[in-house]
Symmetry: C2
Subunit: 255 residues, 2 copies
Amino acid sequence: MQGDNLQKIKKKQKFLDILSQKTKTRFLLKKKSEKEIPKRKNSPLFNHVPEIVIQRLPIYIRILTKIQKQGKLQISSNLLGELSGISPGIIRKDLNYFGRFGKQGSGYQVIELKDTLKTILGLDGTWNVGVIGLGKLGDAIASYTGFTNAGFRIVALFDTDEKLHGKKISRITIQSLDELKRSVKTRNIKIAIISTPSNQSQDVANRLIDSGVKCILNYTQSSLKVPKEIILKHVDPISTLQSMAFHLKNYHLNK
Amino acid sequence: MQGDNLQKIKKKQKFLDILSQKTKTRFLLKKKSEKEIPKRKNSPLFNHVPEIVIQRLPIYIRILTKIQKQGKLQISSNLLGELSGISPGIIRKDLNYFGRFGKQGSGYQVIELKDTLKTILGLDGTWNVGVIGLGKLGDAIASYTGFTNAGFRIVALFDTDEKLHGKKISRITIQSLDELKRSVKTRNIKIAIISTPSNQSQDVANRLIDSGVKCILNYTQSSLKVPKEIILKHVDPISTLQSMAFHLKNYHLNK
Protein backbone atom coordinates (compact mmCIF):
# COMPACT_ATOMS: atom_id res chain seq x y z
CA MET A 1 0.00 0.00 0.00
CA GLN A 2 2.85 2.35 0.88
CA GLY A 3 4.49 1.52 -2.46
CA ASP A 4 1.26 2.44 -4.20
CA ASN A 5 1.17 5.81 -2.51
CA LEU A 6 4.77 6.47 -3.35
CA GLN A 7 4.05 5.72 -7.00
CA LYS A 8 1.05 8.06 -6.96
CA ILE A 9 3.18 10.86 -5.55
CA LYS A 10 5.89 10.21 -8.15
CA LYS A 11 3.32 10.27 -10.96
CA LYS A 12 1.88 13.54 -9.70
CA GLN A 13 5.34 15.09 -9.50
CA LYS A 14 6.09 13.94 -13.06
CA PHE A 15 2.83 15.44 -14.27
CA LEU A 16 3.64 18.76 -12.61
CA ASP A 17 7.13 18.69 -14.12
CA ILE A 18 5.74 18.16 -17.60
CA LEU A 19 3.14 20.87 -17.07
CA SER A 20 5.75 23.37 -15.98
CA GLN A 21 7.95 22.36 -18.91
CA LYS A 22 5.03 22.93 -21.29
CA THR A 23 4.26 26.31 -19.81
CA LYS A 24 7.89 27.32 -20.10
CA THR A 25 8.09 26.16 -23.69
CA ARG A 26 4.91 27.94 -24.62
CA PHE A 27 6.22 31.10 -23.03
CA LEU A 28 9.53 30.88 -24.86
CA LEU A 29 7.83 30.16 -28.17
CA LYS A 30 5.47 33.08 -27.73
CA LYS A 31 8.41 35.40 -27.31
CA LYS A 32 10.27 33.98 -30.32
CA SER A 33 7.22 33.24 -32.48
CA GLU A 34 7.94 35.84 -35.14
CA LYS A 35 11.48 34.65 -35.70
CA GLU A 36 10.81 30.89 -35.75
CA ILE A 37 11.80 29.23 -38.99
CA PRO A 38 11.77 25.48 -39.63
CA LYS A 39 15.13 23.89 -39.01
CA ARG A 40 16.06 21.33 -41.64
CA LYS A 41 17.91 18.17 -40.79
CA ASN A 42 21.50 17.92 -41.96
CA SER A 43 21.08 15.96 -45.17
CA PRO A 44 19.61 18.03 -47.97
CA LEU A 45 18.81 14.83 -49.85
CA PHE A 46 16.35 13.32 -47.36
CA ASN A 47 17.61 9.90 -48.40
CA HIS A 48 15.95 7.97 -45.63
CA VAL A 49 12.41 9.29 -45.82
CA PRO A 50 9.94 6.41 -46.40
CA GLU A 51 8.04 6.59 -49.70
CA ILE A 52 4.70 6.57 -47.87
CA VAL A 53 5.71 9.80 -46.10
CA ILE A 54 6.62 11.46 -49.43
CA GLN A 55 3.25 10.39 -50.79
CA ARG A 56 1.42 12.12 -47.96
CA LEU A 57 3.15 15.50 -48.37
CA PRO A 58 1.02 16.48 -51.43
CA ILE A 59 -2.09 15.85 -49.34
CA TYR A 60 -0.84 18.26 -46.68
CA ILE A 61 0.00 20.84 -49.35
CA ARG A 62 -3.51 20.57 -50.83
CA ILE A 63 -5.15 21.14 -47.46
CA LEU A 64 -2.79 23.98 -46.50
CA THR A 65 -3.56 25.69 -49.84
CA LYS A 66 -7.28 25.44 -49.11
CA ILE A 67 -6.85 26.73 -45.56
CA GLN A 68 -4.71 29.62 -46.83
CA LYS A 69 -7.47 30.62 -49.28
CA GLN A 70 -9.86 30.75 -46.32
CA GLY A 71 -7.55 33.35 -44.81
CA LYS A 72 -6.41 31.24 -41.87
CA LEU A 73 -2.82 31.73 -40.72
CA GLN A 74 -2.43 28.73 -38.42
CA ILE A 75 -3.60 25.14 -38.35
CA SER A 76 -3.34 22.52 -35.60
CA SER A 77 -2.22 18.99 -36.39
CA ASN A 78 -5.65 17.92 -35.13
CA LEU A 79 -7.47 19.98 -37.76
CA LEU A 80 -4.96 18.95 -40.43
CA GLY A 81 -5.70 15.38 -39.37
CA GLU A 82 -9.44 15.85 -39.54
CA LEU A 83 -9.29 17.42 -43.02
CA SER A 84 -6.88 14.82 -44.43
CA GLY A 85 -8.15 11.69 -42.71
CA ILE A 86 -4.59 11.07 -41.46
CA SER A 87 -4.03 10.81 -37.71
CA PRO A 88 -2.40 13.87 -36.07
CA GLY A 89 0.32 11.62 -34.65
CA ILE A 90 1.32 10.43 -38.11
CA ILE A 91 1.27 14.01 -39.43
CA ARG A 92 3.62 15.20 -36.69
CA LYS A 93 5.92 12.23 -37.34
CA ASP A 94 5.88 12.82 -41.11
CA LEU A 95 6.79 16.49 -40.78
CA ASN A 96 9.51 15.65 -38.27
CA TYR A 97 11.52 14.03 -41.07
CA PHE A 98 12.07 17.43 -42.61
CA GLY A 99 12.67 19.67 -39.64
CA ARG A 100 10.91 21.24 -36.71
CA PHE A 101 7.59 22.78 -37.69
CA GLY A 102 4.82 24.08 -35.51
CA LYS A 103 4.63 25.14 -31.94
CA GLN A 104 3.03 23.52 -28.92
CA GLY A 105 -0.41 25.02 -28.56
CA SER A 106 -0.53 27.28 -31.60
CA GLY A 107 -0.06 24.71 -34.36
CA TYR A 108 1.59 25.20 -37.74
CA GLN A 109 2.06 28.44 -39.67
CA VAL A 110 0.01 27.71 -42.81
CA ILE A 111 1.97 29.64 -45.46
CA GLU A 112 5.38 28.79 -44.05
CA LEU A 113 4.62 25.06 -43.82
CA LYS A 114 3.06 24.97 -47.30
CA ASP A 115 5.99 26.79 -48.91
CA THR A 116 8.54 24.62 -47.14
CA LEU A 117 6.78 21.40 -48.15
CA LYS A 118 6.60 22.66 -51.74
CA THR A 119 10.32 23.37 -51.73
CA ILE A 120 11.05 19.94 -50.27
CA LEU A 121 8.98 18.26 -53.00
CA GLY A 122 10.62 20.34 -55.71
CA LEU A 123 7.46 22.29 -56.44
CA ASP A 124 8.90 25.76 -55.94
CA GLY A 125 9.28 25.97 -59.73
CA THR A 126 7.39 24.38 -62.63
CA TRP A 127 8.14 21.04 -64.29
CA ASN A 128 7.51 20.67 -68.01
CA VAL A 129 5.48 17.59 -68.87
CA GLY A 130 4.80 15.69 -72.11
CA VAL A 131 1.72 13.52 -72.74
CA ILE A 132 1.92 10.60 -75.16
CA GLY A 133 -1.32 9.06 -76.46
CA LEU A 134 -4.22 11.44 -77.11
CA GLY A 135 -7.23 9.11 -77.06
CA LYS A 136 -10.14 9.96 -74.76
CA LEU A 137 -8.05 9.52 -71.61
CA GLY A 138 -5.05 11.48 -72.96
CA ASP A 139 -7.43 14.21 -74.11
CA ALA A 140 -8.93 14.40 -70.60
CA ILE A 141 -5.42 14.62 -69.10
CA ALA A 142 -4.23 17.25 -71.58
CA SER A 143 -7.40 19.30 -71.03
CA TYR A 144 -7.13 19.23 -67.26
CA THR A 145 -6.34 22.67 -65.89
CA GLY A 146 -5.28 21.58 -62.40
CA PHE A 147 -1.67 20.74 -63.28
CA THR A 148 -0.43 24.33 -63.45
CA ASN A 149 -1.31 25.26 -59.87
CA ALA A 150 0.26 22.01 -58.70
CA GLY A 151 3.72 22.73 -60.19
CA PHE A 152 3.42 21.11 -63.64
CA ARG A 153 2.87 22.47 -67.14
CA ILE A 154 1.94 20.25 -70.07
CA VAL A 155 4.10 21.62 -72.90
CA ALA A 156 4.05 18.87 -75.54
CA LEU A 157 1.61 16.24 -76.89
CA PHE A 158 2.46 13.21 -79.03
CA ASP A 159 0.48 10.52 -80.79
CA THR A 160 1.23 7.90 -83.45
CA ASP A 161 -2.09 8.66 -85.22
CA GLU A 162 -1.31 10.94 -88.19
CA LYS A 163 -4.88 12.25 -88.23
CA LEU A 164 -4.26 13.91 -84.87
CA HIS A 165 -1.01 15.65 -85.87
CA GLY A 166 -1.42 19.40 -85.98
CA LYS A 167 -4.61 19.39 -83.89
CA LYS A 168 -4.54 21.31 -80.63
CA ILE A 169 -5.66 20.54 -77.06
CA SER A 170 -5.53 23.50 -74.65
CA ARG A 171 -3.40 25.41 -77.20
CA ILE A 172 -0.73 22.67 -77.45
CA THR A 173 -0.24 21.06 -80.88
CA ILE A 174 -0.23 17.25 -81.13
CA GLN A 175 3.01 16.07 -82.77
CA SER A 176 4.35 12.87 -84.28
CA LEU A 177 6.48 10.65 -82.05
CA ASP A 178 9.34 11.41 -84.45
CA GLU A 179 9.48 14.83 -82.76
CA LEU A 180 9.78 13.29 -79.29
CA LYS A 181 13.55 13.37 -78.83
CA ARG A 182 14.00 16.90 -80.13
CA SER A 183 11.03 18.20 -78.14
CA VAL A 184 12.13 16.58 -74.86
CA LYS A 185 15.53 18.29 -75.25
CA THR A 186 14.37 21.73 -76.34
CA ARG A 187 11.48 21.95 -73.86
CA ASN A 188 13.51 20.38 -71.02
CA ILE A 189 10.86 17.72 -70.38
CA LYS A 190 11.79 15.50 -67.42
CA ILE A 191 8.31 14.07 -66.77
CA ALA A 192 6.05 12.22 -69.22
CA ILE A 193 2.56 10.78 -68.97
CA ILE A 194 1.81 7.68 -71.06
CA SER A 195 -1.86 7.26 -72.00
CA THR A 196 -1.46 5.15 -75.13
CA PRO A 197 -3.13 1.78 -75.68
CA SER A 198 -1.46 -0.85 -73.47
CA ASN A 199 0.34 -2.61 -76.30
CA GLN A 200 2.26 0.58 -77.23
CA SER A 201 3.26 1.60 -73.73
CA GLN A 202 6.58 -0.25 -73.37
CA ASP A 203 7.85 0.99 -76.73
CA VAL A 204 6.86 4.56 -75.86
CA ALA A 205 8.51 4.24 -72.43
CA ASN A 206 11.77 3.08 -74.08
CA ARG A 207 11.73 6.03 -76.48
CA LEU A 208 11.02 8.47 -73.64
CA ILE A 209 13.93 7.17 -71.56
CA ASP A 210 16.18 7.24 -74.62
CA SER A 211 15.18 10.89 -75.10
CA GLY A 212 16.16 11.84 -71.55
CA VAL A 213 12.88 11.67 -69.63
CA LYS A 214 13.45 10.70 -65.96
CA CYS A 215 9.90 10.35 -64.59
CA ILE A 216 7.09 8.33 -66.15
CA LEU A 217 3.47 8.31 -65.03
CA ASN A 218 1.93 5.22 -66.61
CA TYR A 219 -1.81 5.50 -67.24
CA THR A 220 -2.06 2.25 -69.21
CA GLN A 221 -3.11 -1.20 -68.02
CA SER A 222 0.36 -2.70 -68.64
CA SER A 223 3.22 -2.83 -66.17
CA LEU A 224 6.36 -1.23 -67.61
CA LYS A 225 9.97 -2.31 -67.31
CA VAL A 226 12.35 0.60 -66.85
CA PRO A 227 15.94 1.01 -65.62
CA LYS A 228 16.34 1.48 -61.88
CA GLU A 229 17.19 5.17 -62.09
CA ILE A 230 13.88 6.01 -63.80
CA ILE A 231 11.07 7.13 -61.48
CA LEU A 232 7.95 5.22 -62.49
CA LYS A 233 4.41 5.31 -61.09
CA HIS A 234 1.30 3.54 -62.28
CA VAL A 235 -2.18 5.09 -62.23
CA ASP A 236 -4.08 1.85 -62.17
CA PRO A 237 -7.79 2.22 -61.33
CA ILE A 238 -8.53 -1.42 -62.19
CA SER A 239 -6.15 -2.66 -59.50
CA THR A 240 -7.56 -0.08 -57.08
CA LEU A 241 -11.11 -1.29 -57.75
CA GLN A 242 -9.97 -4.89 -57.33
CA SER A 243 -8.38 -4.23 -53.95
CA MET A 244 -11.59 -2.42 -52.91
CA ALA A 245 -13.61 -5.47 -53.94
CA PHE A 246 -11.61 -7.46 -51.38
CA HIS A 247 -12.88 -5.26 -48.56
CA LEU A 248 -16.39 -5.22 -49.99
CA LYS A 249 -16.48 -9.00 -50.07
CA ASN A 250 -14.72 -9.68 -46.78
CA TYR A 251 -16.22 -7.04 -44.55
CA HIS A 252 -19.49 -5.60 -45.83
CA LEU A 253 -21.10 -8.71 -47.20
CA ASN A 254 -20.17 -10.82 -44.20
CA LYS A 255 -21.91 -8.54 -41.75
CA MET B 1 33.61 -22.85 -23.13
CA GLN B 2 31.67 -25.99 -22.37
CA GLY B 3 28.41 -23.95 -22.49
CA ASP B 4 29.48 -22.70 -25.92
CA ASN B 5 30.00 -26.21 -27.20
CA LEU B 6 26.67 -27.34 -25.82
CA GLN B 7 24.97 -24.47 -27.64
CA LYS B 8 26.74 -25.38 -30.87
CA ILE B 9 25.56 -28.98 -30.61
CA LYS B 10 22.02 -27.83 -29.86
CA LYS B 11 22.09 -25.50 -32.88
CA LYS B 12 23.33 -28.27 -35.13
CA GLN B 13 20.62 -30.61 -33.89
CA LYS B 14 17.98 -27.96 -34.53
CA PHE B 15 19.33 -27.41 -38.05
CA LEU B 16 19.20 -31.15 -38.75
CA ASP B 17 15.65 -31.30 -37.41
CA ILE B 18 14.54 -28.49 -39.71
CA LEU B 19 16.31 -30.07 -42.67
CA SER B 20 14.63 -33.40 -42.08
CA GLN B 21 11.29 -31.64 -41.69
CA LYS B 22 11.84 -29.86 -45.00
CA THR B 23 12.79 -33.06 -46.80
CA LYS B 24 9.73 -34.79 -45.40
CA THR B 25 7.50 -31.92 -46.52
CA ARG B 26 9.03 -31.93 -49.97
CA PHE B 27 8.49 -35.65 -50.27
CA LEU B 28 4.89 -35.40 -49.14
CA LEU B 29 4.22 -32.60 -51.58
CA LYS B 30 5.67 -34.56 -54.47
CA LYS B 31 3.46 -37.55 -53.75
CA LYS B 32 0.32 -35.46 -53.35
CA SER B 33 1.10 -32.92 -56.06
CA GLU B 34 -1.93 -33.63 -58.22
CA LYS B 35 -4.35 -33.35 -55.34
CA GLU B 36 -2.82 -30.28 -53.71
CA ILE B 37 -5.25 -27.46 -53.23
CA PRO B 38 -4.34 -24.26 -51.42
CA LYS B 39 -5.16 -24.45 -47.75
CA ARG B 40 -6.72 -21.26 -46.43
CA LYS B 41 -5.93 -19.98 -43.01
CA ASN B 42 -8.66 -20.31 -40.40
CA SER B 43 -10.34 -16.94 -40.70
CA PRO B 44 -12.30 -16.60 -43.92
CA LEU B 45 -12.24 -12.85 -43.39
CA PHE B 46 -8.47 -12.35 -43.70
CA ASN B 47 -8.78 -9.58 -41.16
CA HIS B 48 -5.10 -9.13 -40.55
CA VAL B 49 -3.76 -8.87 -44.08
CA PRO B 50 -1.91 -5.56 -44.55
CA GLU B 51 -3.48 -3.21 -47.11
CA ILE B 52 -0.25 -3.14 -49.14
CA VAL B 53 -0.52 -6.92 -49.63
CA ILE B 54 -4.14 -6.60 -50.85
CA GLN B 55 -2.99 -3.92 -53.27
CA ARG B 56 -0.39 -6.23 -54.80
CA LEU B 57 -2.80 -9.12 -55.47
CA PRO B 58 -4.32 -7.45 -58.58
CA ILE B 59 -0.80 -7.13 -60.01
CA TYR B 60 -0.25 -10.88 -59.58
CA ILE B 61 -3.63 -11.60 -61.18
CA ARG B 62 -2.76 -9.39 -64.17
CA ILE B 63 0.53 -11.20 -64.74
CA LEU B 64 -0.97 -14.66 -64.21
CA THR B 65 -3.70 -13.83 -66.76
CA LYS B 66 -1.02 -12.82 -69.28
CA ILE B 67 1.03 -15.95 -68.58
CA GLN B 68 -2.08 -18.13 -68.92
CA LYS B 69 -2.80 -16.59 -72.34
CA GLN B 70 0.73 -17.58 -73.38
CA GLY B 71 -0.24 -21.18 -72.59
CA LYS B 72 2.10 -21.60 -69.62
CA LEU B 73 0.86 -23.80 -66.77
CA GLN B 74 3.44 -22.95 -64.12
CA ILE B 75 5.35 -19.90 -62.99
CA SER B 76 8.19 -19.54 -60.50
CA SER B 77 8.16 -16.78 -57.90
CA ASN B 78 11.36 -15.57 -59.58
CA LEU B 79 9.64 -15.05 -62.95
CA LEU B 80 6.56 -13.58 -61.23
CA GLY B 81 8.99 -11.24 -59.50
CA GLU B 82 10.73 -10.26 -62.71
CA LEU B 83 7.45 -9.55 -64.51
CA SER B 84 5.93 -7.58 -61.64
CA GLY B 85 8.98 -5.74 -60.37
CA ILE B 86 8.22 -7.13 -56.89
CA SER B 87 10.89 -9.23 -55.17
CA PRO B 88 10.24 -13.02 -55.11
CA GLY B 89 10.61 -12.99 -51.32
CA ILE B 90 7.81 -10.47 -50.93
CA ILE B 91 5.62 -12.42 -53.37
CA ARG B 92 6.03 -15.65 -51.36
CA LYS B 93 5.29 -13.77 -48.13
CA ASP B 94 2.22 -12.08 -49.66
CA LEU B 95 0.74 -15.35 -50.89
CA ASN B 96 1.45 -17.01 -47.54
CA TYR B 97 -1.24 -14.85 -45.95
CA PHE B 98 -3.87 -16.75 -47.88
CA GLY B 99 -2.69 -20.33 -47.75
CA ARG B 100 -0.01 -22.62 -49.06
CA PHE B 101 0.54 -22.14 -52.79
CA GLY B 102 3.29 -23.46 -54.98
CA LYS B 103 5.75 -26.26 -54.63
CA GLN B 104 9.48 -26.21 -54.04
CA GLY B 105 11.11 -26.43 -57.45
CA SER B 106 8.10 -26.36 -59.73
CA GLY B 107 6.60 -23.00 -58.79
CA TYR B 108 2.96 -21.98 -58.83
CA GLN B 109 0.12 -23.50 -60.87
CA VAL B 110 -0.91 -20.51 -63.01
CA ILE B 111 -4.66 -21.12 -63.36
CA GLU B 112 -5.15 -22.37 -59.81
CA LEU B 113 -3.30 -19.43 -58.27
CA LYS B 114 -5.09 -16.89 -60.48
CA ASP B 115 -8.54 -18.32 -59.72
CA THR B 116 -7.84 -18.52 -56.00
CA LEU B 117 -6.58 -14.93 -55.87
CA LYS B 118 -9.66 -13.80 -57.81
CA THR B 119 -11.91 -15.57 -55.32
CA ILE B 120 -10.03 -14.03 -52.41
CA LEU B 121 -10.44 -10.54 -53.90
CA GLY B 122 -14.12 -11.15 -54.63
CA LEU B 123 -13.61 -11.16 -58.39
CA ASP B 124 -15.18 -14.55 -59.07
CA GLY B 125 -18.37 -12.69 -60.02
CA THR B 126 -19.04 -9.24 -61.47
CA TRP B 127 -19.61 -6.01 -59.52
CA ASN B 128 -22.01 -3.43 -60.91
CA VAL B 129 -20.52 0.07 -61.01
CA GLY B 130 -22.03 3.54 -61.42
CA VAL B 131 -20.14 6.57 -62.79
CA ILE B 132 -21.13 10.07 -61.70
CA GLY B 133 -19.87 13.05 -63.73
CA LEU B 134 -19.56 12.59 -67.49
CA GLY B 135 -17.14 15.31 -68.49
CA LYS B 136 -14.05 14.35 -70.53
CA LEU B 137 -12.63 12.20 -67.73
CA GLY B 138 -15.93 10.49 -66.92
CA ASP B 139 -16.45 9.88 -70.64
CA ALA B 140 -13.00 8.25 -70.84
CA ILE B 141 -13.81 6.06 -67.81
CA ALA B 142 -17.26 5.07 -69.12
CA SER B 143 -15.79 4.26 -72.55
CA TYR B 144 -13.00 2.10 -71.17
CA THR B 145 -13.53 -1.55 -72.08
CA GLY B 146 -11.06 -3.04 -69.62
CA PHE B 147 -13.41 -3.11 -66.63
CA THR B 148 -15.43 -6.14 -67.71
CA ASN B 149 -12.50 -8.56 -67.85
CA ALA B 150 -11.36 -7.28 -64.46
CA GLY B 151 -14.62 -8.14 -62.66
CA PHE B 152 -16.56 -4.87 -63.02
CA ARG B 153 -19.41 -3.73 -65.23
CA ILE B 154 -20.44 -0.10 -65.59
CA VAL B 155 -24.24 -0.25 -65.53
CA ALA B 156 -25.33 3.33 -64.81
CA LEU B 157 -24.16 6.88 -65.63
CA PHE B 158 -25.27 10.08 -63.90
CA ASP B 159 -24.67 13.79 -64.45
CA THR B 160 -26.22 17.02 -63.21
CA ASP B 161 -26.04 18.56 -66.71
CA GLU B 162 -29.51 18.24 -68.28
CA LYS B 163 -28.05 18.46 -71.78
CA LEU B 164 -26.36 15.11 -71.23
CA HIS B 165 -29.46 13.28 -70.00
CA GLY B 166 -30.58 10.63 -72.47
CA LYS B 167 -27.23 10.53 -74.30
CA LYS B 168 -25.40 7.22 -74.34
CA ILE B 169 -21.82 6.14 -73.71
CA SER B 170 -21.01 2.51 -74.54
CA ARG B 171 -24.75 1.81 -74.74
CA ILE B 172 -25.47 3.13 -71.22
CA THR B 173 -27.84 6.11 -70.95
CA ILE B 174 -26.79 9.13 -68.90
CA GLN B 175 -29.40 9.85 -66.21
CA SER B 176 -30.23 12.68 -63.84
CA LEU B 177 -28.93 12.40 -60.28
CA ASP B 178 -32.57 12.23 -59.23
CA GLU B 179 -32.49 8.65 -60.51
CA LEU B 180 -29.48 7.75 -58.38
CA LYS B 181 -31.19 6.18 -55.36
CA ARG B 182 -33.59 4.08 -57.40
CA SER B 183 -30.88 2.96 -59.83
CA VAL B 184 -28.43 1.99 -57.08
CA LYS B 185 -31.13 -0.22 -55.53
CA THR B 186 -32.51 -1.83 -58.69
CA ARG B 187 -29.10 -2.43 -60.30
CA ASN B 188 -27.50 -3.52 -57.00
CA ILE B 189 -24.67 -0.99 -57.38
CA LYS B 190 -22.16 -1.30 -54.53
CA ILE B 191 -19.29 0.59 -56.22
CA ALA B 192 -19.33 4.12 -57.66
CA ILE B 193 -16.75 6.25 -59.47
CA ILE B 194 -16.93 10.01 -58.92
CA SER B 195 -15.53 12.07 -61.80
CA THR B 196 -17.45 15.31 -61.24
CA PRO B 197 -15.84 18.73 -60.80
CA SER B 198 -14.16 18.91 -57.37
CA ASN B 199 -16.75 21.24 -55.84
CA GLN B 200 -19.56 18.71 -56.42
CA SER B 201 -17.75 15.63 -55.18
CA GLN B 202 -18.66 15.72 -51.47
CA ASP B 203 -22.36 16.25 -52.21
CA VAL B 204 -22.33 13.39 -54.71
CA ALA B 205 -20.49 11.15 -52.22
CA ASN B 206 -23.12 11.88 -49.56
CA ARG B 207 -25.93 10.99 -51.96
CA LEU B 208 -24.18 7.79 -53.03
CA ILE B 209 -23.73 6.64 -49.44
CA ASP B 210 -27.32 7.57 -48.65
CA SER B 211 -28.37 5.40 -51.62
CA GLY B 212 -26.48 2.35 -50.34
CA VAL B 213 -23.14 2.49 -52.21
CA LYS B 214 -20.33 0.97 -50.12
CA CYS B 215 -17.22 1.66 -52.26
CA ILE B 216 -16.22 5.01 -53.76
CA LEU B 217 -13.40 5.59 -56.21
CA ASN B 218 -12.75 9.33 -56.12
CA TYR B 219 -11.28 10.72 -59.36
CA THR B 220 -11.59 14.36 -58.31
CA GLN B 221 -8.97 16.65 -56.82
CA SER B 222 -10.82 16.97 -53.49
CA SER B 223 -10.43 14.73 -50.47
CA LEU B 224 -13.77 13.29 -49.38
CA LYS B 225 -15.16 12.74 -45.90
CA VAL B 226 -17.05 9.49 -45.56
CA PRO B 227 -18.19 7.30 -42.64
CA LYS B 228 -15.67 4.68 -41.47
CA GLU B 229 -17.52 1.74 -42.97
CA ILE B 230 -17.31 3.18 -46.51
CA ILE B 231 -14.38 1.96 -48.60
CA LEU B 232 -12.83 5.00 -50.24
CA LYS B 233 -9.86 5.33 -52.61
CA HIS B 234 -8.50 8.36 -54.38
CA VAL B 235 -7.10 8.31 -57.91
CA ASP B 236 -4.95 11.38 -57.54
CA PRO B 237 -2.41 11.86 -60.37
CA ILE B 238 -1.45 15.35 -59.15
CA SER B 239 -0.27 13.97 -55.80
CA THR B 240 1.50 11.15 -57.61
CA LEU B 241 3.33 13.62 -59.88
CA GLN B 242 4.21 15.73 -56.85
CA SER B 243 5.75 12.80 -54.98
CA MET B 244 7.70 11.91 -58.15
CA ALA B 245 9.01 15.48 -58.31
CA PHE B 246 10.56 14.90 -54.88
CA HIS B 247 12.69 12.08 -56.23
CA LEU B 248 13.48 14.02 -59.39
CA LYS B 249 14.71 16.97 -57.36
CA ASN B 250 16.52 15.06 -54.64
CA TYR B 251 18.20 12.31 -56.60
CA HIS B 252 18.49 13.04 -60.30
CA LEU B 253 19.34 16.70 -60.19
CA ASN B 254 21.84 16.31 -57.36
CA LYS B 255 23.95 13.80 -59.22
